[in-house]
Symmetry: C2
């Protein structure tokens, strides 16, 4: 991992120990797939970050500066500037106490990571998580740094040897996987859970909604288990077909192949993944 740390426009050696990101998870993040030194979905990631910043009333750093530094982080090095770029923006340093300090400059970190493995050819093994997501419309949809629920849910999957887990809210509505959004194909139609109460509105999900003519809906466990095809999506790994969920198994489905072909036209890294799985 290579990281660059900033407060406002100043490059720093380290994160300050009084940073509100560390104290309260008082920040936002984006995880972006990089292709040959560029971030093809940059605008979509930055837009979501802006929506989060408005919701949390948190200042963002200068977009141009962030983009320059991101490019520098991926310049020159093999393998050809591919990989994953993570951006964290926090409310900055502060005195003790929850009250946001006025006029503090945001802290931001850029880090470079290896490309993830492509989606497994035989699909993911997923489970239902015991962990339920709390309903909090004020934080729903945005990619904030309060992620203990996801950490707890993800731990359930790793321990039990599953690739991922699906999580529901306390009313029994399915929300997403721990680190990806969810699409199901039923009666010739793509559906994806509504994210107005909890969950993260993924950039890959947003990109797919229109071309797949997908409809947002409240879905219960049964609607997933009886679907004709299921995939997970995120901006780093693209479309991940689900092969097994409990006792239910899904063979490869042409609707998923079609969705992956759509995605390949939207992001060059996913085109490569499709050609060389």
């Amino acid at each position: 991992m290579t990281t660059r740390i900033f407060i406002g426009n100043r490059r720093m050696d380290a994160v300050a120990p009084d940073d509100r990101g560390l104290a309260y998870g008082d920040g936002l993040f984006e995880t972006m797939r990089v292709h040959r030194g560029t971030v093809p979905w940059w605008d979509a990631h930055w837009s979501r970050l802006q929506r989060g910043a408005q919701r949390l009333r948190l200042r963002l750093p200068d977009a141009g500066r962030v983009r320059e530094e991101a490019a520098a982080l991926f310049a020159g090095d093999p393998p050809a500037g591919d990989g994953v770029l993570k951006l964290i923006v926090t409310r900055g340093g502060g005195t003790r106490g929850y009250a946001p300090t006025a006029e503090v400059e945001p802290t931001w970190l850029l880090s470079r990571h290896h490309s993830p493995p492509p989606a497994p050819a035989d699909g993911l093994r997923v489970r239902w998580c015991e962990t339920r997501l709390a309903s909090q419309p004020l934080l729903a949809g945005i990619k904030h740094c309060n992620r203990l629920e996801q950490v707890l849910a993800r731990a359930e999957c790793s321990e039990a040897g599953f690739d991922e887990g699906l999580v529901c809210d306390h009313d029994g509505h399915v929300v997403a996987a721990t680190g990806a959004n969810l699409f199901v194909f039923r009666e010739g139609q793509w559906l994806t859970p509504m994210l107005d109460r909890c969950g993260v509105a993924g950039v890959c999900r947003a990109r797919l909604l229109l071309p797949l003519q997908a409809r947002e809906a409240r879905l219960d466990r049964d609607a997933i288990e009886t679907a004709d095809a299921v995939f997970l999506s995120n901006a780093v790994r693209g479309i991940l077909p689900v092969a097994r969920l409990g006792t239910r198994a899904w063979p490869p489905h042409p609707a998923i192949a079609a969705a992956r072909a759509v995605l390949a036209r939207l992001h060059p890294a996913f085109a490569l993944d499709l050609e060389h799985p």
Copy 2:
């Protein structure tokens, strides 16, 4: 602020940029009142930290080492080793992704802060916050680092010039203030909200339950507004009488004076606050 940073038993110069505390708020904290270089309620704080660590399945550092370092942080300096000690413990560094990495040593930070001002003699002005707390039994009661709800609620109070704010859950039950627990006196009995769905089970609250013979209950806004006396409690500032809430005003009440006398016997710093307000 003076801070010491550690990973496991090693003193560090800085927090690692891949720390899970910063990425996900994947940690716990305690804020303790220090009196003449000692933490009178140390055992209670450490017990709550242990409960949180069990819930999050997070490793704690060696208790003896933490206590030694805390003592060193307050040794020697005027004014007589009084102040506030904050301890943050995170799950440590990690690769990208929610899955907790096995066998990682925890990161911990100790910081020294000034003593807070004593409770204002004329009581606090508080408001009802618009921000509601999400119900999440997995995280209720423990003092974890996912505090965006408190940050949002606290911001409402500061902007409107209030000292604190009371927050409810989505069912309309009152939970606490943004940074303190709540006690109300009704029909000769102290009551305090149940914290099984959200909120932090404060160390000061726990200390007061038995001597005040306080009962945990589900309380709605009306139960607070029609109470005979109301105070907030936390381990740093002790008992903070509430003077105003919306149009309701409370004059000083003998039951609060009695509660403060109880607290003064439980912690020497609050005895001093009472003698020299």
